[in-house]
Amino acid sequence: MPSPARMGPAVDRSKVEFVLDEEPVEAWVEPNQTLLEVLRTVLGHTDVKYGCGEGVCGTCTVLFDGDPVSSCLVFAVQAGGHVVTTPRGAGPPDEIAALRAAFLAAGAAQCGFCTPAMLLTVHHLLMENRAAGREDIRSGISGNLCRCTGYTKILDAVEYYQAGRRTGSGSA
């Protein structure tokens, strides 16, 4: 997706190439554009959100080479040669679908603004530790702020998901 002429007189744009959700992408960016800005405005990823610009709220979370980062604190030029995964693009698809279904059934989303990043963070946690318990998850999501749910149903959702995997229902 080519980016429209947005910056007035051309300053210092360069092409950055990286892997986004398993597909190679390229974008013409200026150094002072964060990965967050480029994902949202050039690459169509409004599932990655601006919440604070300080790395505190977590709504801008993406996976960078497989681990979670605040995309508001990474410049797009720094992503060149790396692998970026967004909430919409996380996988494997059957696991993500099952995790989303668990969030839905548990009522774990209210306004939904924190949800895509929250789910991606949980997914990453579970990939590292399939047997993560409720308190591990509580600790693991402590960098993702939610103002609506009080977190309890998010933890419930993870337990539903794990129960589903154990009984083999709801996945694949």
């Binding site: 150094p31 002072n32 610009g53 979670p68 508001c72 604190l73 720094q78 960098g143």
Partner: protein, 294 residues
Amino acid sequence: MYPAPFDYVRAGSYQEAAQLLHDRGENAKLIAGGQSLVPMMNLRLARPELLIDINDVGRGAGPVLRDGWLHMPAVTRQRALERLPAVATHAPLFATAAAHTGNVRVRTRGTIGGNLAHADPSSELSCVAVATEAEVDVVGADGSRRIAATDLFITDLTTSLEQSEVIRSVEVPTRPARTGYGFAELARRAGEFAIVIAAAVVTLDELGSCQGVRLAFGGVGARIVDGSAMAAEHLVGVDPTPDRVVAAVAGTSGASSPRDDHQASAQYRSRLMAVLGSRALRDAIAGANGASGG
């Protein structure tokens, strides 16, 4: 909300980075993890004209034990410090401090070198660097040198590094067998800057007397407070009893003048130094006893 414009270059080595800093002067800054710098840039409070990206330098090289020192490349991620066996074995306070730093995203990007170079007196890693007598290996346009952590931190956000000097690695000395470690901090909520941090290292002799003690405090003032000398006065050469621990810590917190701000009063910080310092020392003593296998 949007950073001011800047030029961007990736350095292939620490030496190259140092040269670039030298050539471009005050308006150039290094970017490693960016977890301290980029928020300031997003707020437009920091406006470097050139960012020198050192994330690729020595890519893949991790901490290794060398000649009795744990050598940690500057761009070692805090996430790696949390997880790597080499750190857990030879510099466990760094693993603990890293685990208490920021949130999971901060730790994915944040580096040991970047954290120390930022010289935030509320930094857990800075605190344990002083507690463990770590040193930084530094390269500049004209050569290299080693700086002890205690000499690195001058004041709030200011190090003794020259403008073109770049931290290459953090070196942590290994300790004798009967050594234990303690760490305690109080933050107002998960992931936030700590109000007070205490880190302790205690080495015991075969009879259980204290052979050496290190004690450092973060979050208290403009720089990391090194309470080791005061603690040593009370503890070295004797059995480190709870009363002596309390006296050791009281001496330190009495001698420093903690800062007073909207997060916490000086009086509260003083009290926390006593409480957390005692907890850290007690854990270090217990650890040293346990480490001996006896």
